[in-house]
Every structure is written in structure tokens, then in C-alpha cells.
């Protein structure tokens, strides 16, 4: 069953290679990411499945929306390599040589594939000890909020840097000039359905995921992405650009500092002092809940700002 789903994923990826138009390539990639997300569910990882589903939606929105804003949606469909017709030399060399090189490397790769069986040292330790060491029932949440909270600090930091980079690397002066034209997708059935039914369910589901990250599958990142999608809907469908971006930016940075402080407290002193009270379930649950909440708010702010910057790029 799982192998069947995975082979559908493989075929989607093969079809990505054979597209000529950019829009169809992006859509096939989106389809393959959705099938991969379903496959992750069958591989026993609901957390990763949720993260991948929301992340792939986000990436596709970035590709389509910013190009739509920039090139116009009609041009996107014909957005192929215009310069290709001028330099058509050696078309076989450009296709056969890479295929040969990749096939040789693939054969070498398969030749040296490691045969050693899996060593389950850490896996068994985590499953046995996570609920007493860190608390909660979601072992994955316990890992990235307890054992490897150091990595989570840097992941949140990377999100902050991504927002800074996007602002600095675009020719954007910080003042959005609405060009007066309503978005073309405003009044049809899909957008109305999205706004009336899907968006409220999504944001409720996101809040549920953030709040219950310690008990069931979910957590700050997935919930934050889902909540961000609500705000993204507002300005994609309705052209409402009333989000105070500078304040949201400052909020995000402040929450990042709060995340780091919480994590450092956890690392050094246990959340409530010395070690025996740290093992109290109430202390552990409070810590997990607050961390999930902070990370959820931060991720939601970060991705909203990111996409807002995209949509607000002036059309050429």
C-alpha cells in the first residue's frame, strides 16, 4: 500500500521533468508534494505530513503569486525559455550527456549502497524516556522541545533571517502602493468557498494543533503555518493589506527572544528550579504549552510577513 503511494509520487516527479511550461511544472511539483505528505502519513509520521502539506502549499503560492504579480497571469502560462530558440546548438549534447553522467553516478551509488542493518539505539531510548524526561505524549514534540531544543532555537532564527533577507534583497522601499486593480480571483466560487468555509476551519485547526502539540500529533510549526494561511488568504483573495507589517516584525523578533530565553531556562535550570520539581508533570506541561504557543505565533508572523512582502512587490 505504501509502496503504491510512493510510486505515484515517483511518477509525479518524473512528469515534472518532462513539462515545457513553467506553470505545469509547478503544479506537478505541488501534486507530488501532496502525495508525499500522504505517504509520510503512511510511514507513521503525522507531524511531518502536516508540515509538508502546509509547506508545499506555501511554496506553490510563492511561485504562482509572485510571478503573477510580476509577469501577469497570462504570461505565466507561456513562460518558457524564450532564448532557447536562438541557441539551439547541440541539443542532444545538452540532454544525453547529463543523462549519461547521472546514470553513471546512480550506478556507482547503487554499487556502494550500505548493507548494514538499522541500529535502533536512540530510537528505543527516546520512546522509553521521552514522557518522563520531557513530558507530554508526543515523542516528536519532546525531542524538538526538550532534547534538541538547541536546534529549534536555530530553526526559529533561520526564519527570522529569511524575513530579513527577503526584505533586504528586494527593491522594496517599504511603502506598498496598491495599484488599484482588484485581484482577478475575487468573485468566483472557489475563492468564496475558501473564504467562507475552508479558512475558518484551517485557522481553528491551526490553533488546535498549537495548543495540543504536546499531547497529540501537531506542534508549533505545523499550527503556525496553518494559522499563517488564514492571514495569507485575506490579502490574496480580498486585497486587504491592512496588516501593520512593522509591528508584526517587531512582534516576531520579540517572540524570538522569548523563545531563546525559555529554551535557555529549560536548558540550565529546568523550568521550575532544580531537578526534582522539573519532573513534575504540571511543570513539564506548562513548559511544552508555552513553547508551542510561542513557536506557533512566531512561525505564523514570519510566514505572513514573508508572503506579504511578495504580494507587495510593485508590478513592473
Amino acid at each position: 500500500m505504501t509502496t503504491t503511494i510512493m510510486s505515484f509520487w515517483l511518477f509525479c516527479n518524473i512528469f515534472v521533468l518532462f513539462q515545457k511550461k513553467l506553470l505545469s511544472m509547478i503544479l506537478w511539483l505541488f501534486l507530488s508534494s501532496i502525495i508525499a505528505s500522504l505517504g509520510f502519513l503512511f510511514l507513521g509520521s503525522p507531524d511531518v505530513a502536516m508540515a509538508e502539506a502546509t509547506a508545499s502549499a506555501f511554496v506553490t503560492i510563492i511561485f504562482i503569486v509572485c510571478f503573477e504579480n510580476f509577469f501577469g497571469i497570462k504570461n505565466l502560462q507561456n513562460f518558457i525559455e524564450e532564448e532557447n530558440s536562438k541557441t539551439r546548438e547541440n541539443i542532444f549534447k545538452k540532454i544525453i550527456l547529463p543523462a549519461f553522467v547521472v546514470l553513471c553516478t546512480f550506478a556507482l551509488f547503487m554499487n556502494f549502497l550500505p548493507q548494514a542493518p538499522q541500529d535502533t539505539y536512540l530510537k528505543n531510548l527516546y520512546i522509553l524516556r521521552a514522557s518522563t524526561d520531557v513530558g507530554g505524549q508526543n515523542v516528536v514534540g519532546a525531542i524538538y522541545l526538550g532534547y534538541r531544543v538547541y536546534d529549534t532555537i536555530f530553526e526559529a532564527l533561520l526564519l527570522l533571517i529569511a524575513v530579513v533577507a527577503v526584505v533586504h534583497l528586494s527593491h522594496f522601499d517599504g511603502v506598498y502602493k496598491k495599484d488599484g486593480k482588484q485581484s482577478e480571483v475575487k468573485n468566483n466560487a472557489i475563492s468564496l468557498f475558501t473564504v467562507r468555509i475552508v479558512a475558518p476551519i484551517t485557522v481553528l485547526f491551526g490553533i488546535y494543533l498549537i495548543a495540543n502539540g504536546a499531547i497529540t500529533a501537531g506542534g508549533g510549526f505545523q499550527g503556525g503555518l496553518a494559522v499563517a494561511s488564514f492571514f495569507i488568504c485575506r490579502f490574496l483573495i480580498f486585497d486587504i493589506y491592512d496588516i501593520p507589517i512593522k509591528k508584526v516584525n517587531k512582534l516576531e523578533d520579540t517572540i524570538f527572544v522569548a523563545v531563546v530565553i525559555m529554551a535557555s531556562l529549560m536548558v540550565f535550570h529546568g523550568f521550575f528550579g532544580e531537578i526534582p520539581p522539573n519532573y513534575l508533570p504540571i511543570a513539564q506541561n506548562i513548559y511544552l504549552f508555552i513553547m508551542n504557543l510561542l513557536i506557533g505565533i512566531k512561525v505564523a508572523c514570519g510566514f505572513t510577513i514573508l508572503l506579504y512582502r511578495y504580494v507587495a512587490i510593485e508590478r513592473n
Binding site: N13, L22, G44, E52, Y144, D151, L158, N316
Partner: protein, 127 residues
């Protein structure tokens, strides 16, 4: 030798092939993203048996009975990190592409290289 591991390796090499053949910048971003999903699938296929359960333990007593069928929690935590990193970087790459297009008016790597050399030559001559 896992069937899912094999599929993920094939997808990784498909992404690599796509990088080697296309000259369009946006398409290379798409293929780089495809390579990342292949790696994520590879990590999650590490302890694969059919019918794995998510690692959410209600109590420690039930764990002993089902231990062999619980999926590995560590790759999942790492892959959530990897997914978030991947989409942040894809976002940065697309914004850089838009700025590059605005300046050079091309979507081709080789033509962008030629134009960037012309720009630097002009800067040298202007002094």
C-alpha cells in the same frame, strides 16, 4: 534494501538531472526543492515496516508491546526542521530571482552571467 529508500534515491537523482539540463533559473529552484523532498523521504524510510504507528505514547506500558511497530521519532523531528529550512530558502531564492530579473531581464543562467560581466565592465570603466 527498502523499496521506499530506492524511490527516494531515484527522486534525488531526478532532481540532480533536472539541475544539469535546464538553463532556466526558476526551473532550477523547482528541481532543488524536489531534491529536498527526496532527502526527507529517505530519512523517514529508515526504519520502515508496513503498518507503522505514530510515536505518540499514551503510557509506558503499552510501549513494550508495540515497540517494534512504532516509527522512529528522531528523523521526524529533524525533518520538520529540514522542511522549514527548505521553504525559507526557496522563498529567498525566488525573491533574489525577481530582483535579478528586474535588473538583467533574463531567466537564463548563461545570459545572466554574460550580462553581469558587462555590468562589471561598465562599472570599471566609469571608475
Amino acid at each position: 534494501m527498502n523499496s521506499i529508500e530506492l524511490i527516494s534515491i531515484i527522486v534525488f537523482f531526478l532532481g540532480l538531472y533536472g539541475l544539469l539540463t535546464n538553463r532556466n533559473i526558476v526551473k532550477t529552484i523547482v528541481f532543488a526543492s524536489m531534491m529536498e523532498v527526496g532527502i526527507i523521504m529517505f530519512w523517514l524510510s529508515i526504519g520502515f515496516t508496513e503498518g507503522m504507528v505514530a510515536p505518540i505514547v499514551a503510557s509506558m506500558f503499552e510501549v513494550d508491546n508495540y515497540q517494534v511497530y512504532i516509527s522512529d521519532p528522531l528523523p521526524q523531528a529533524l525533518m520538520i526542521t529540514a522542511i522549514v529550512i527548505g521553504i525559507s530558502i526557496t522563498a529567498i531564492k525566488t525573491i533574489m530571482f525577481i530582483t535579478l530579473y528586474r535588473k538583467f531581464k533574463t531567466t537564463d543562467w548563461d545570459i545572466a552571467k554574460i550580462k553581469s560581466k558587462e555590468v562589471s565592465k561598465e562599472a570599471i570603466q566609469k571608475g
